[in-house]
């Protein structure tokens, strides 16, 4: 069994994943939230530009990427669950699937970015695409950092699962789920709303 202690999640100082990770999550959500509010203000000033530019985005790519991240999040939740049960092989399997989901997201995002750059819709094309590039690239940075964290956790799980602390593993999982949460805000507002 992984190195566990009984955590009282109902205690305000011990939310699942740890209080520090949740402070980071709220800061990230507020940061992205403020940017999205500014984007909405810009859309009000230039409604035609935002509507026509939004139609240039591929909604199918956005929806498929949502499925990749949600499925990856499901795998991560299962991985934590099996680690708590002491089933290390299943935990590793689901962690690998989680990382695969992250890479699929990045691959499709790469295809999308390549298409936009080929068509000339770069960051300076108009104000909509400035927001599109800044917000989605900032999110991609989070996904890349999340994958690195999962690789480090996976390494600990492979080498010495007995000493792996469940709180640390939960914190890694919580960071990964944060990438889902941010994308669930970005996808409807950038790809569908304007």
């Amino acid at each position: 069994m992984a190195n566990t202690i009984k955590i009282d999640y109902k205690n305000i100082f011990y939310p699942p994943g740890g209080i520090l990770m949740w402070i980071v999550i709220y800061l990230e959500l507020v940061t992205f939230g403020i940017a999205l509010v500014f984007m909405a203000f810009s859309a009000k000033a230039e409604p035609e530009v935002f509507h026509e530019s939004r139609l240039l985005l591929n909604t199918a790519y956005g929806a498929i990427n949502t499925v990749f991240l949600l499925s990856s999040g499901w795998c991560m939740a299962q991985s934590v669950h099996f680690l708590k049960k002491g089933n290390f092989s299943k935990s590793k399997l689901f962690l690998n699937l989680t990382i695969l989901g992250g890479f699929l997201f990045l691959a499709l995002k790469g295809v999308e970015y390549y298409g936009k750059m080929e068509a000339g819709y770069t960051i300076g094309y108009n104000s909509f695409f400035s927001y599109y590039w800044m917000l989605t690239l900032f999110h991609v940075v989070h996904v890349v950092v999340g994958i690195v964290i999962l690789f480090v956790s996976g390494n600990a799980l492979r080498k010495n699962p007995e000493t792996l602390k469940i709180e640390d593993y939960e914190a890694s999982a919580t960071f990964w789920h944060m990438c889902d949460l941010i994308w669930l805000l970005l996808f409807p507002i950038i790809y569908l709303l304007f």
Binding site: Y9, K10, N11, I12, P15, P16, G17, W22, Y26, L29, V30, G33, L36, V37, A40, F41, A43, K44, T59, A60, A63, T66, V67, L70, S71, G73, W74, M76, A77, Q78, H81, K85, A173, T174, H177, D180, L181, L184, L185, F187, P188, I189, Y191, L192, L193
Partner: protein
């Protein structure tokens, strides 16, 4: 008794019900989230007066699904739950109102 005498009894862990319930919760959450994503994609192509509210409403459900079930925020202190739902409600209301 025969099961015990012949050593056929199966020892179930005490928390088996909790384990099965959690796995089922994750699976149901995933199915609902994928369903909501498909619904969002369908609604995105529909011309409707209040389509923005529908799209934002569906994203609220997905957000809560991930936070409460995958991240297990449902087990956390009410402070963290209220803070997250409050932030989400405020943000999407502001975006919609603008």
């Amino acid at each position: 008794m025969a099961y015990v005498r012949l050593n056929l009894a199966v020892a179930f862990p005490d928390n088996l019900f909790i384990i099965l319930t959690m796995e089922r919760t994750f699976n149901i959450t995933w199915i609902v989230l994928i369903g909501l994503t498909i619904l969002t994609a369908v609604f995105a192509n529909v011309e409707m007066k209040y389509i923005a509210i529908v799209i934002l409403g569906l994203s609220v459900l997905k957000f809560i699904g991930v936070a409460f079930f995958f991240m297990e925020l449902k087990k956390a202190n009410v402070f963290w739950r209220v803070l997250l739902v409050g932030f989400l409600g405020l943000l999407l209301t502001v975006v919609w109102a603008i």
